[in-house]
């Protein structure tokens, strides 16, 4: 049966994408939460409406160096300084598109495994599978759009 062959491939791919995701997530977490210059999420709680998180000195200096002495370190500007360098922007966008594909494949293949465990009706399985992969495709399109157009 052709489908059992492709399932074996997907089973193997699931382990490969999972292993890749561990390394990609470490990079993602480091950039988003720990690097003082480019992390967009800071270590503080903001409760007031319209209040912005306070960024570290490294981030403020980075934004000023890129966008002039009057530039403020807002969340958007902190992300934009990452994309200001064209070579880095290309690498960053490439990484994120790859990350998006790997994460979506891993997540939705896993979700399909879970669904086939509880849905016994073949037609129900087909519907669940088609629906979930449609959602994945939709997320791939909007995600890629966000990554490519960021900073335009």
């Amino acid at each position: 049966m052709a489908s059992s062959q492709s399932n074996a491939l997907n089973w193997f791919l699931h382990r490969i994408t999972g292993t890749f995701l561990v390394f990609m997530l470490i990079t993602h977490f480091w950039v988003q939460h720990y690097d003082h210059q480019v992390a967009s999420v800071t270590h503080e709680v903001v409760t007031e409406k319209n209040e912005m998180p306070e960024y570290p000195e490294e981030a403020k200096e980075g934004v000023k160096a890129r966008f002039g002495p009057d530039a403020e370190a807002t969340p958007y500007q902190v992300v934009m300084q990452r994309l200001a360098d064209p070579v880095y922007a290309f690498l960053w966008k490439g990484f994120n598109v790859l990350f998006l594909i790997v994460a979506l494949h891993h997540g939705f293949y896993g979700l399909n495994n879970v669904m086939t465990d509880y849905i016994r009706n073949p037609m129900g399985r087909l519907i669940a599978s088609v629906l979930s992969w449609t959602v994945a495709l939709g997320l791939f399109i909007i995600g890629t759009y966000s990554v490519i157009t960021a900073g335009w």
Binding site: T42, E44, V45, T47, P53, R120
Partner: protein
């Protein structure tokens, strides 16, 4: 993986088939360590897919500076800091248990699985403590006032 229904058709009697279907949908097993690990893997996995959907959808805000600033400011509210920590716990558990599965499936580490389980459990705890410190620190500073938390490596 699921049991294929076409290869295991329901019993002849329609009454029996109905009850078999009912019982088999959520099979009851004795819950031992491995089973508990599998259940948690599944639970965190489904949770992470839900998070992935929200995350990708939320990042469409990147096309507009004002919307993006408002979104990131919201991510700094107390409830999101708690959520951030819960996300790390789910990710750390799913990643390390997944790594355990890969090492057993692809490298044949099943003879060493007890030690593997304990080692990865310790690594998971370390990831949660070190990686989760920024969230705990932020919540502590907010709850007990500025300067009340040691900044450590931050």
């Amino acid at each position: 993986m699921a049991v294929d229904t076409r290869e295991r058709p329901p019993k002849a009697s329609s009454k029996d088939a109905a009850t078999a279907e009912q019982e088999s949908r959520f099979q009851r097993y004795r819950i031992r360590t491995g089973m508990f690990a599998w259940m948690m893997h599944r639970l965190t996995g489904v949770g992470l897919v839900v998070y992935l959907i929200i995350h990708i959808w939320g990042l469409t805000a990147l096309t507009d500076p004002e919307t993006f600033n408002a979104l990131i400011a919201k991510y700094h509210s107390p409830i999101f800091k708690v959520g951030e920590f819960a996300l790390l716990v789910a990710v750390a558990y799913h990643a390390m248990n997944g790594l355990r599965i890969v090492l057993i499936d692809l490298l044949g580490w099943s003879p060493k699985q007890k030690r593997l389980f304990a080692t990865l459990g310790a690594v998971t705890l370390l990831i949660i403590l070190v990686g989760g410190w920024p969230s705990i620190y932020a919540l502590g500073e907010w709850l007990f006032g500025p300067g009340s938390m040691p900044s450590l490596f931050l």
